[in-house]
Symmetry: C2
Subunit: 234 residues, 2 copies
Amino acid sequence: MTNVLYQHGTLGTLMAGLLQGTASINDLLKHGDIGIATLTGSDGEVIIVDGKAYHANEHKEFVELVGDELSPYATVSRFTPDKTYSTSNKPSAEVYDEVKEKMLSKNLFSAVKISGTFKKMHVRMMPGQEPPYTRLINSANRQPEQIEKNIKGSVVGFFTPELFHGIGSAGFHVHFANDDRNFGGHVLDFEVSDVTVEIQNFETFEQHFAVDDEAFTNTDIDYKDIAKEIRQAE
Amino acid sequence: MTNVLYQHGTLGTLMAGLLQGTASINDLLKHGDIGIATLTGSDGEVIIVDGKAYHANEHKEFVELVGDELSPYATVSRFTPDKTYSTSNKPSAEVYDEVKEKMLSKNLFSAVKISGTFKKMHVRMMPGQEPPYTRLINSANRQPEQIEKNIKGSVVGFFTPELFHGIGSAGFHVHFANDDRNFGGHVLDFEVSDVTVEIQNFETFEQHFAVDDEAFTNTDIDYKDIAKEIRQAE
């Protein structure tokens, strides 16, 4: 299938505190070469770019993953851009506005990859929880942040349409990996110098559930306030 | 792929008044042999059972569809039940409670087929709108209902987990076709005499969007109150 966005788990379920990893990084790489994820315990930020998976943790370490690590929530796709253009010298809010104009529709999922030189890159890394897990908002409120200036790399991630808030985070949810592969994280904001922007529009959103995880199948999940908690945490 | 629930369009988008059909019944039948849908204008109730598609309209007519009719919102699957059991002499609320106990999880989508003799079957048929379309709640408020007693047939449809309310209708959303194929509709409630219940649990939910429909891709859809309107209408 082409133009399929594959997701394992949901952001809502993660926010509700079901943090046990249920899909391996190698499994995820079968469904795409670009993507975002987290590991068991919602430990850090996974960045999948050019078919490789990297991990940025709360200690500001950045490593390539081996493949057998487990993820409770991941979104990946085979990246085949429908639109490519260049842009320069503007803050992330303006870059996102441009991408929204160039996406086929705000009612569809899209992937975006922004590669080149960034004047500023501001990221955070979710601190991992140990069992017993609690609602993610607890660890989201104590995330370390990091800012780098004049850095080359790629922003990768997805646009989620408003109706799917809860399944993902409505709007853009993007991670960053630098070209030296030693810095990255969940993107808070940035400023581009000169970048290439690539956009893929998705016809199909494939939601995979952790059917073999009894913590998921047997739990009465409390989704109350999830929409609000996602807005606060993301 | 097995155990995939395929959906074209979303209930939220339908409720917001985007009622133009965008997938043909023949296209839908490629993705499943059991299912529920509506036609352009949200005209009536489509029941897909045993690989054939039927239509119940507001005039209480019931016909087999030809295949080139278009649907704005449809949910279908290849039915391969994971669990089969018999039950008798109880109202729909109790039947649903039993099904919920026997589904793998309330956090997954499931298909259900309930076949046999029903003491009572209470259905409604959505009146079709003509363009310019309005929010569905307007036509939902003037739906004719129909009750039949001691009737043989099949209830078919799906369970949607709470987090996906808006994408579908949280809980059970089922339609009915009698064995004589001359009566059916959207199920409001029923009472079983003796029936066989079959349940399929889904590992994957495949959401397909109407990427070629400019009314969908170019509209700023107002999803405010959609969750509430779905609860009122369904």
